[in-house]
C-alpha cells in the first residue's frame, strides 16, 4: 500500500483513472474492474468509498465516451433505450432480492457464464448468429449504420432476435442488481452474439447504457455520503479525459483489437467472480 501525501495520492489516482477511462470506453464497461482494486489494494481507500468512486467512474466513462459515439453514430441510441427497459427491470428486481439469495452460488454461476462468454466471443466470427427477419426490429427501426474509420467505409447492419436480446438483458440487469457488478460484460455479448450488431456498435451502445443505469444508484451513493470528494475528483477527472480519448481511438482501431481486449476483460472478471464465490463466507 502506498503511503503518500494528498497531492501525490491525487496524481496517482488520476493516472490510474486515465487508463481505466481509455479501457472502459473501448470495451463498453465502467472501469470499476480497474478502479476498485487500485483504490483499495494499492491506495488503501476504504472499500465503501472505493465503490462510491467507481460508480462515479462508470458515469464518467459513459458520458465522456458517449459524447463522441453519439455524434459519430457508432452508439445505437434506439437499441440502447429499448434494452434499457428490461435491464432496469432486472436491476430493480435484483436489488430487492439481493438479501435473500445465496451469493456464493451466484458468483460461481456468473463466473462460469463469463468463461463461456469469453470462449464464444473469442471465436465469435463463427458464433454470431446469422441475421434473420425481425418484424419488431423493423417496426422500431433498430437497424443502424456508422462510419468505420479503421475500415474506411460505412458499416450498415441489421438487428435481429430483439426478443432474445430483451430477455437476456433482463438477466444481465438482474445479475448486476444482485451482485452489484456493471452489466457491460453481458450487454456487449448479447448485442454482438445474439442481435448481430458489429462489436464497435456494441461497446459504444453499452457505454451509453451503463451511464443511464448507474445514474440512479450514484445519486443514492452521493446522498449517503459514500462519494468522497477527495477520492472521487481525481477518479472522475481522469476517467472523463481517458474515456474521451478512448472514444476517439475506438473508431480507428480494428475490431479484432477490441475483441481481444474484451475477451481479456471477461476472463479477469470471471476469475474475480469465481474467487469471490469460493471465498465469501
Amino acid at each position: 500500500m502506498l503511503h503518500t501525501t494528498p497531492l501525490l495520492f491525487s496524481l496517482a489516482v488520476f493516472a490510474i483513472s486515465l487508463v481505466a477511462g481509455v479501457f472502459g470506453s473501448l470495451v463498453g464497461v465502467g472501469g470499476g474492474i480497474i478502479v476498485v482494486p487500485a483504490l483499495t489494494l494499492l491506495m488503501g481507500v476504504d472499500i465503501r468509498f472505493a465503490i462510491g468512486a467507481s460508480i462515479v467512474a462508470v458515469i464518467a466513462t459513459s458520458s465522456g465516451a458517449a459524447a463522441s459515439y453519439v455524434r459519430e453514430r457508432i452508439a445505437n441510441l434506439r437499441v440502447a433505450m429499448f434494452l434499457e427497459t428490461s435491464t432496469a427491470v432486472g436491476a430493480i428486481a435484483g436489488a430487492l432480492l439481493a438479501h435473500h439469495v445465496p451469493k456464493n452460488a451466484l458468483y460461481i454461476l456468473f463466473g462460469i457464464v463469463l468463461i463461456y462468454t469469453a470462449w464464444s466471443m473469442s471465436r465469435s466470427r463463427k458464433n454470431v448468429r446469422p441475421a434473420r427477419p425481425d418484424p419488431l426490429a423493423d417496426r422500431l427501426r433498430l437497424h443502424g449504420s456508422y462510419y468505420d474509420a479503421a475500415e474506411g467505409k460505412t458499416v450498415e447492419y441489421r438487428v435481429s432476435r430483439t426478443k432474445l436480446g430483451l430477455a437476456t438483458s433482463l438477466l444481465a440487469g438482474l445479475n448486476s442488481g444482485l451482485l452489484g457488478v456493471g452489466g457491460g460484460a453481458i450487454k456487449v455479448p448479447v448485442m454482438n452474439l445474439f442481435m448481430g450488431m458489429p462489436l464497435k456498435a456494441c461497446t459504444a451502445t453499452s457505454n451509453f447504457m451503463i451511464g443511464v443505469t448507474a445514474a440512479a444508484s450514484a445519486t443514492v451513493y452521493l446522498l449517503r455520503g459514500d462519494v468522497l470528494p477527495f477520492v472521487a475528483a481525481p477518479v472522475a477527472a481522469g476517467v472523463l479525459i481517458g474515456a474521451t480519448g478512448g472514444a476517439k481511438l475506438l473508431a480507428r482501431l480494428k475490431g479484432g483489437v477490441i475483441r481481444t481486449l474484451f475477451v481479456g476483460l471477461l476472463i479477469v472478471t470471471a476469475v474475480q467472480m469465481l474467487w469471490k464465490g469460493f471465498h465469501t463466507p
Binding site: 497531492l7 432496469a88 445514474a215 440512479a216 450514484a218 445519486t219 470528494p229
Partner: protein, 140 residues
C-alpha cells in the same frame, strides 16, 4: 443511409439532429463538470487545511473516521457560498451524475418532436424505472 464524412453530409435528418443535440448536451455536461472538479481540487489543495502536505494527512481523508464532513444540501450551499473546494467538487459530481438523466429526458422531448410514439413510450418507461430504482436505493 450512407454517411461518408461530416463535411460532405446531406442536410441532417430529424433523427440526426436529435443525436446532435444529445451529443452536445453530453459534451457541455462533461466539460462543465470537469471544470468544476479541477477548480474545486485546486482550491482544496491551495487553501484547505484539511488536504495537508504529510503522508498522514491522506489517511485522514480516505478512512471512514476522518472522511467527509457533511454531505447534505445545506452544507453544499453554504460551502459554495464560501467558495470551499470540496463543495465545488460535489457540485461537479452532481452535474456529472445528472448528465445521463438529462440525456433520457432530452430523448423523450426529441422523440416527441419526431412523433415517434413507440420510442416516447419506451424512453418514458426508462425514466420511470430509474426513478423507482432511485427510490428503492434511497430507502435501503
Amino acid at each position: 443511409m450512407s454517411q461518408p464524412h461530416h463535411d460532405q453530409l446531406p442536410p441532417p435528418s430529424r433523427a440526426e439532429r436529435v443525436e446532435l443535440v444529445i451529443s452536445n448536451l453530453l459534451r457541455w455536461g462533461v466539460f462543465a463538470s470537469l471544470l468544476l472538479l479541477v477548480i474545486g481540487s485546486v482550491i482544496s489543495f491551495a487553501f484547505s487545511g484539511r488536504y495537508g502536505h504529510a503522508p498522514g494527512d491522506t489517511d485522514a481523508l480516505i478512512t471512514a473516521a476522518g472522511a467527509f464532513p457533511a454531505h447534505d444540501v445545506g452544507w453544499l450551499i453554504d460551502g459554495l457560498r464560501h467558495g470551499r473546494g470540496q463543495a465545488i467538487i460535489v457540485l461537479g459530481l452532481f452535474l456529472l451524475i445528472l448528465t445521463p438523466l438529462l440525456r433520457v429526458v432530452v430523448s423523450i422531448v426529441a422523440f416527441t418532436i419526431e412523433r415517434d410514439w413507440a420510442f416516447v413510450g419506451i424512453t418514458a418507461i426508462v425514466l420511470v424505472l430509474l426513478t423507482i430504482s432511485f427510490l428503492i436505493g434511497g430507502a435501503s
